[in-house]
C-alpha cells in the first residue's frame, strides 16, 4: 500500500496534469525520425526522456491471422521510455492478439514489432530480461502460497526485487501465506502485477491490469504504473475502462475489428467528436436561427445541436436569446468526452 505521503504526491501530480508543456510533448503521432519537442523543464511532471530516445516499443503495420480470421489488420504505434500507451476497444477488437506479438508469445503474420530495438520473438532471450508481462488470465497454480509463487518467479529472473518488497508493493504482505486458490479476483490480479514488476522491467505490457479490481486497488495499480513510468519505463496496456485510459495514458489508440480507428492524446480523441449544446424552449418561443457548422439532432421544444465550433455557436445563440428575450431552459454546452468518442467509433459497424 502506498504510504500516505506517496498518495499525497500522486494527488499533486494529478492536479498538475493539464500543463501546456507536457501537452505539447504528448501531442499526436510523431514521426519516429523527428525528435519530439522536449517538455518544458519547469512544468514537466516526469523526468524528461532524452529527446533522441528511440522508442522502446515500435509496432509497424502489424497483422495477425488465425487461419482465415484476421484478428489484427495493420496496427502501428510506438511507445517511448517514460510513456504510457493504452489500447482501448471492445472485446474481440484484437487488443490481446496484438499484445501477444509484443510479448514474444506469438509470431506476427505481417509487419514488424521491435521491443528495445529487438525482435521479441526471434531474439526473446535478449529482450525478456527487460520485459514485464501481465497476461489477461493469470495462469498460476492454485496450491502454491502467494510468497512461494513470488519466490519461484524470482528464482527465474536476473535481477528480481526482494520478495517482501514485491508483496508490499501490491498490498499483499498480509496474504503471503495464503494459497493462490483462496485469493479474491482482485488479489490475484495484484499478484499478477507483482510478478510482472518483479524483474524491474524497462518495458511493461499489461493486458487489462485492473479488470476485477475494486476502486481502491485500481488506484494502487495506477500509482505503481506511474511510479515505473517516472523511472523511465515504457508501458503498453489494454483496458475497457475509459477512466483508466484517461488517468494513465499519454496516448490512446482505439481499436475496432483489428484496426486502430482513432489515436492521439485523450484531448485529440475527444476533439474528434462534435460538442453538444442542449436547451429547451418555452411554448410559443421562436426557434433560434441555426448557425453554420451546426448539425441539428433534436428540433422542437427540446433542442440538441452538435457542432465543432462550440464557442462561436454558443456566443451566437446567447446573443440571439438576449436580443429576443428568449429563455433557454436547462442550457447545457459540453465539449465531447473521450467516452463519447469511444462509443462513436468502438462499436460502430
Amino acid at each position: 500500500m502506498p504510504a500516505p505521503g506517496r498518495r499525497q504526491r500522486q494527488g499533486c501530480a494529478r492536479e498538475e496534469r493539464p500543463d501546456p508543456g507536457r501537452r505539447a510533448h504528448r501531442g499526436g503521432r510523431r514521426d519516429p525520425s523527428v525528435a519530439p519537442a522536449p517538455p518544458s523543464p519547469a512544468t514537466s511532471r516526469r523526468v524528461p526522456p532524452p529527446a533522441a530516445a528511440p522508442p522502446a516499443v515500435e509496432v509497424v503495420d502489424l497483422h495477425r491471422r488465425y487461419g482465415d480470421f484476421a484478428a489484427v489488420r495493420g496496427v502501428s504505434f510506438d511507445v517511448r521510455p517514460g510513456e504510457v500507451s493504452a489500447l482501448l476497444g471492445v472485446n474481440g477488437a484484437g487488443k490481446t492478439s496484438a499484445l501477444e506479438v509484443l510479448e514474444g508469445l506469438a509470431p506476427a503474420s505481417g509487419g514488424t514489432v521491435r521491443v528495445l530495438g529487438t525482435d521479441p520473438r526471434r531474439e526473446r532471450a535478449a529482450v525478456r530480461r527487460h520485459l514485464g508481462v501481465q497476461l489477461q488470465t493469470s495462469g498460476l497454480p492454485g496450491d502454491l502460497t502467494v510468497a512461494e509463487t513470488v519466490r519461484t518467479w524470482a528464482g527465474t529472473l536476473t535481477a528480481p526485487r526482494p520478495v517482501d518488497e514485491a508483496l508490499a508493493q501490491v498490498d499483499l504482505t498480509g496474504r503471503a501465506d495464503v494459497r493462490v486458490r483462496s485469493l479474491s479476483g482482485g488479489e490475484r490480479r495484484r499478484l499478477d502485477l507483482a510478478l510482472a514488476l518483479l524483474g524491474r522491467p524497462r518495458v511493461l505490457v499489461l493486458d487489462e491490469p485492473t479488470t476485477g479490481l475494486d476502486p481502491e486497488s485500481r488506484r494502487t495499480v495506477w500509482g505503481l504504473v506511474r511510479g515505473l513510468v517516472d523511472d523511465g519505463a515504457a508501458v503498453v496496456l489494454t483496458t475497457h475502462h475509459l477512466e483508466e485510459a484517461e488517468e494513465l495514458a499519454d496516448r490512446i489508440a482505439v481499436m475496432r475489428a483489428g484496426r486502430i480507428v482513432l489515436a492521439g492524446t485523450r484531448e485529440e480523441i475527444a476533439e474528434s467528436q462534435p460538442a453538444t449544446i442542449r436547451f429547451t424552449l418555452d411554448d410559443g418561443a421562436p426557434q433560434p436561427p441555426v448557425p453554420a457548422d451546426v448539425e441539428v439532432v433534436g428540433a422542437g421544444p427540446r433542442v440538441e445541436w452538435h457542432t465543432r465550433a462550440l464557442q462561436p455557436v454558443l456566443a451566437a445563440l446567447l446573443a440571439w436569446a438576449a436580443e429576443h428575450g428568449v429563455v433557454l431552459r436547462g442550457l447545457q454546452a459540453r465539449a465531447a468526452s473521450l467516452e463519447q468518442a469511444f462509443l462513436a467509433v468502438a462499436d460502430a459497424d
Binding site: 528495445l116 529487438t118 495462469g139 496450491d143 502454491l144 512461494e148 536476473t158 535481477a159
Partner: protein
C-alpha cells in the same frame, strides 16, 4: 539495432531448479498423487512376493517395473500434466519470463521424473529385500536405458499434447503408446515368438529398446534370447540405442514444430 546489456542472470540449471521446486511442492500437496506413487511399486513387489513363483526372477521384475513406470507414470502423467498446465494457461505465463521454452518443459517434468526414479528405486530395494537380487552383467546399460527411456517419454509426452485437447482426452490419445508400444515391448512375451517382420516392427517401437537395453544390461540377454557378454553386449546394444535416439529426434522435432503453449481458441 541496439544491443541490450546482458548481465549475468541465473544459470539455466538454477531457473529449472526454481520451477522444479515449485512443481515438486505442488505434487507433495496432492495427497492422492503421493499415495499412488508410493503404493504402485509396493503393490508390484507385493504381487510378485505373493504369487510370483520361483520362475520369476527379481531382475525380470525390475525390468518390468522400469518399463511400466516409464510408460504409465512418466509418459501418461506428463501428457496429462502438460495438457492441464496448457489449458490452465500456466505454460503461457511461464513463457512471459526469462525461462526458455525447454526450461519450462523440463521444470514441469521434474517431479514426475523424480517419482519415476523413486519408484524404480523402491522396486530394486524390494527385490533385494525379497532376496531375489542378482548383480547386473553391466551397470551402465540399465542406467542408460532408464535415462534415455525417460528422455524419450518426455518428448513423446510433449509431442502427444499436440493432439490432446484436455487432460481427460489423454486417456484416449495416449493409447497408442500405453497399449501398443507396451504390448509389443517384449515385457509380456519375448519378441522372438513373433514372425520376423513383426518382430522388427516391434523393435522399432519406443519402449522396446528400453526393455532390450535393460535385459542386456541386467541379464546379458538379447531380444531373441541369446546370452552375450563383453564387446558383443555393447554391439547388441547399438540397435536399441539408435532406435531411442531416433524417437527422441522425431518426437523432439514434432514438439518444436507443433507444440501449443496456450489453449486453442
Amino acid at each position: 539495432m541496439t544491443t541490450l546489456p546482458a548481465p549475468a542472470g541465473p544459470s539455466s540449471l538454477r531457473r529449472i531448479g526454481a520451477l522444479a521446486t515449485a512443481e515438486t511442492r505442488l505434487l507433495a500437496r496432492n495427497r492422492t498423487a503421493v499415495v499412488n506413487s508410493v503404493l504402485m511399486p509396493l503393490l508390484l513387489v507385493g504381487f510378485v512376493a505373493v504369487v510370483g513363483g520361483d520362475g520369476m526372477l527379481g531382475v525380470d521384475l525390475l525390468v518390468a517395473a522400469a518399463g511400466f513406470t516409464l510408460v504409465f507414470l512418466t509418459y501418461y502423467n506428463l501428457v496429462t500434466t502438460y495438457v492441464a498446465r496448457r489449458e490452465d494457461l500456466v505454460l503461457q505465463r511461464m513463457r512471459t519470463g526469462e525461462l526458455t521454452d525447454a526450461e519450462v518443459l523440463a521444470g514441469t517434468a521434474a517431479p514426475t521424473l523424480l517419482v519415476t526414479a523413486v519408484q524404480i528405486g523402491l522396486v530394486a530395494v524390494g527385490v533385494a529385500v525379497l532376496g531375489r537380487w542378482t548383480a547386473p552383467v553391466d551397470l551402465l546399460l540399465p542406467v542408460l536405458a532408464v535415462l534415455l527411456g525417460a528422455v524419450v517419454m518426455v518428448v513423446l509426452a510433449t509431442a502427444s499434447t499436440v493432439f490432446t485437447r484436455t487432460p481427460e482426452s489423454a486417456q484416449i490419445t495416449t493409447l497408442p503408446v500405453v497399449m501398443g508400444a507396451t504390448a509389443l515391448s517384449g515385457l509380456f512375451f519375448p519378441l522372438s515368438v513373433l514372425p520376423e517382420g513383426l518382430a522388427t516392427v516391434a523393435r522399432l517401437l519406443p519402449l522396446t529398446p528400453v526393455v532390450e537395453l535393460l535385459q542386456l544390461g541386467v541379464a546379458g540377454r538379447t531380444w531373441n534370447g541369446e546370452v552375450v557378454a563383453g564387446a558383443e553386449l555393447w554391439w547388441a546394444a547399438l540397435a536399441p540405442l539408435g532406435v531411442l535416439l531416433a524417437w527422441t529426434a522425431i518426437a523432439g522435432f514434432a514438439t518444436a514444430r507443433w507444440f501449443r503453449w496456450a489453449p486453442r481458441r
